[in-house]
């Protein structure tokens, strides 16, 4: 009796499983996403994690042509990780690193090797410090190899000191925190908008609403207006947790943060409205996440600096809104940037993304069944 009951139970489990397989078999979009999403994710993660850094902008101020200094310079020149810019003075180096035009600078003084680093990007700062350290080590090894009096050499070796342009050394959470603000806003706004539009389509309200004096432009605009209010409260909550809870520095202007958040939200909203045209169920909307959100998180410089992404893949990062959102929010929170500082390229790029996706969303909203 017990065995029979168990067999019946297994049978019913099998019936449900078979139904699930049959349903998915007919859902070609989900099958496509299930196959393609992991491929995209693995490729992106694989290349990003396995790649070495390249394109780190490094300024060189050569005040001395001593053996150690030359050795360090040679080592930096032979490395593929750096894009070297030769500068006349330390003041130039300080200015360019402060502006963000360079990731760091090496001042090759006679008695002191000074590193000027941008503390807002710990991985890049570490890469510079590590390479200079290696260069110094190798130069010392070459010198020591041919010397009898090693003790007298020590007195003439330059010291290595590190200065952070922004005056402090940041933790990883401080560097990632501002980016997380942008990600959380983009992700949740995109998801809720896509599902909302889909629900309108499934309920039939979209059709009824479009068969009224309301235009498609007005519909999408109304959605953006409504969701921007939600996004404001959501970003206020996230921001408060980051700054008050996790003590992420807030050096810049609140207005600038708000402006970036609002433009990111608007872009996420219209992007969600656009993509909702391609989903027929909430299940399919969820499948969009690894295709739409994850590549942005991997490639926009949140966890890994852009310099660690292979050069052939790096241009892709510049089409993602999160790349600009991360950059702008880091500038504001960590470097004290104002609203005008983040207009170009960040706010301009985010606005272009918003306008393009808005137009696409309006265009794609179909009143008529073909």
């Amino acid at each position: 009796m017990q065995t029979e009951r168990l067999l019946h139970s297994f049978h019913r489990i099998g019936v449900v499983g078979l139904r699930v397989i049959r349903q998915i078999k007919r859902d070609k979009r989900t099958i496509g996403l299930v196959i393609i999403s992991p491929i995209i994710l693995m490729v992106l993660l694989g290349y990003s994690l396995a790649g070495t850094m390249s394109g780190i902008g490094l300024g060189i101020v050569q005040l001395s042509q001593g053996t150690v200094q030359e050795g360090i310079l040679e080592d930096l020149q032979s490395s593929d990780s750096f894009s070297l810019t030769y500068l006349a003075s330390e003041d130039d180096a300080d200015r360019l690193v402060s502006e963000g035009s360079l990731d760091g600078a090496v001042i090759l003084g006679e008695d002191e090797i000074r590193l000027l680093l941008d503390g807002t990007s710990p991985q890049v700062a570490s890469a510079i410090a590590a390479q200079v350290g290696i260069g110094m080590q190798q130069a010392l090894s070459r010198i020591l190899g041919g010397l009898e009096n090693k003790i007298s050499l020590q007195a003439t070796l330059p010291s290595l000191t590190t200065y952070y342009v922004y005056g402090y050394d940041l933790e990883v959470k401080d560097s990632v925190g501002p980016a997380l603000l942008g990600i959380s806003i983009f992700f949740f706004t995109f998801l809720t908008t896509t599902i909302s539009f889909l629900r309108e389509r499934l309920l039939g309200t979209l059709e009824k609403v479009l068969a009224s004096p309301l235009s498609k432009f007005e519909l999408v605009s109304g959605y953006i207006l409504g969701f921007l209010v939600i996004a404001f409260f959501q970003s206020a909550t996230t921001f408060t947790i980051l700054v008050l809870g996790f003590k992420v520095p807030m050096q810049g202007s609140l207005i600038a943060v708000l402006a970036v958040i609002m433009v990111v939200s608007a872009g996420a909203l219209s992007f969600g409205a656009f993509l909702s045209n391609f989903a027929r169920s909430e299940f399919q909307v969820i499948q969009f996440i690894p295709v739409v959100i994850t590549p942005q998180i991997v490639l926009s410089g949140v966890w890994l600096p852009l310099q660690s992404i292979p050069e052939w893949l790096r241009p892709v990062a510049y089409i993602f809104p999160l790349t600009y959102s991360n950059h702008a929010l880091r500038l504001i929170l960590l470097k004290g940037a104002s609203l005008t500082d983040v207009i170009y390229p960040d706010l301009v790029a985010l606005t272009i993304f918003f306008v393009l996706t808005f137009l696409l969303a309006v265009r794609m909203l179909q009143r008529q069944e073909e």
């Binding site: 309920l203 039939g204 009824k208 004096p213 008529q368």
Partner: protein
């Protein structure tokens, strides 16, 4: 089937010729013609799959036709969006926002049509009274019963006082008492306020209540006429069923008056050709009916007889 007259501006609510639409290889509307004058209740009648809903949706500009010349409120179909403010559409799906209250749903739909302020409040009150759901105003729509949901959907369709209503099976799932009040309201809208209503249904009894019936089958308009004209066309008449004590003698008496009489057991069946016929029969000398019943012909009988 060709319409009886050409499109005349101001006369037709809907006018169409050569309407065709296929979904893939499946023809749904097949060279259909339609002619709906203003101020009537027009019923699109037909079995499931005959193309009624597709036609309604096409008239709302929600389905792109493959062919056809159509005017809705004198606007060509390609520009039907110009008259959206005057159209009220109630699809089969009954689209409401389940998370909003009844009041909020009505406010939303009223707002889409530019109805604001005091007028909005008055209009909402009116339409809730029409559907007899004033007490549900503050209830969450998703929690309403199916019948109530349907009635609120109709209210949302009426809230902007449209000139032309397109209602896809509006009385499905409604109790008979409410159904009767709906029909009374529809009659009021057309006869007193000059509105035009297009209703789709597959129920003959409902079509019988309309001013004009357009019978569709397999995407074609098979007949388009008033219910009485269709019954006359089928040769159907109202008749009287009389129960009498002496059927043979009473049948003879009525035949002498010129009536055709058929005997069915103890009952006599007498067609009534005119409005005075009933009085003539009942005032027949020496006729003492035990009981009588007037039987009206139905649309179903007409269609069956016409083999449409």
């Amino acid at each position: 089937m060709e319409p009886k007259e050409p499109h005349v501006k101001g006369k037709h609510a809907v006018f169409g010729r050569g309407i065709s639409k296929s979904f893939g290889q499946i023809p749904v509307l097949n060279d259909l013609a339609i002619n709906i004058p203003k101020g009537v209740i027009y019923c699109l009648l037909g079995p499931n799959g005959s193309g009624k809903t597709t036609l309604i949706r096409a008239l709302m500009g929600l389905v792109r036709l493959d062919a056809g010349r159509v005017y809705v409120l004198d606007e060509p179909l390609e520009k039907v969006n110009r008259v959206y403010a005057h159209l009220g559409y109630m699809p089969q799906q009954r689209p409401l926002y389940p998370d909003l209250t009844v009041q909020e749903n009505l406010e939303f739909y009223a707002g889409l049509y530019g109805i604001r302020g005091q007028k909005r409040g008055e209009r909402i009150k009116e339409v809730l009274a029409v559907v007899d759901l004033a007490e549900t105003r503050d209830r969450i729509t998703g929690n309403l019963s199916g019948g109530m949901y349907q009635r609120i959907s109709l209210a949302c369709t009426l809230v902007h006082d449209p000139e032309l209503l397109l209602l896809d099976e509006p009385t499905v799932g409604i109790d008979p008492v409410t159904k009767q009040s709906f029909w009374e309201y529809f009659k009021h809208l057309t006869e007193k306020e000059g509105r035009t209503i297009i209703i789709t249904t597959h129920i003959m009894e409902e079509a019988d209540r309309c001013d004009i019936v357009g019978f569709m089958r397999a995407g074609k308009m098979m007949a388009e006429s008033s219910p009485d004209e269709l019954k006359n066309l089928a040769g159907l008449q109202t008749f009287l069923r009389l129960k009498v004590a002496d059927p043979e003698k009473d049948a003879a008496r009525l035949r002498n008056l010129g009536f055709r009489v058929e005997q069915e057991g103890e009952a006599l069946v007498v067609p009534l050709p005119g409005p005075e016929s009933l009085r003539e029969v009942l005032s027949c000398q020496d006729l003492r009916p035990l009981s009588y019943k007037i039987v009206e012909p139905t649309l179903e009988q007409a269609f069956l007889k016409l083999a449409i």
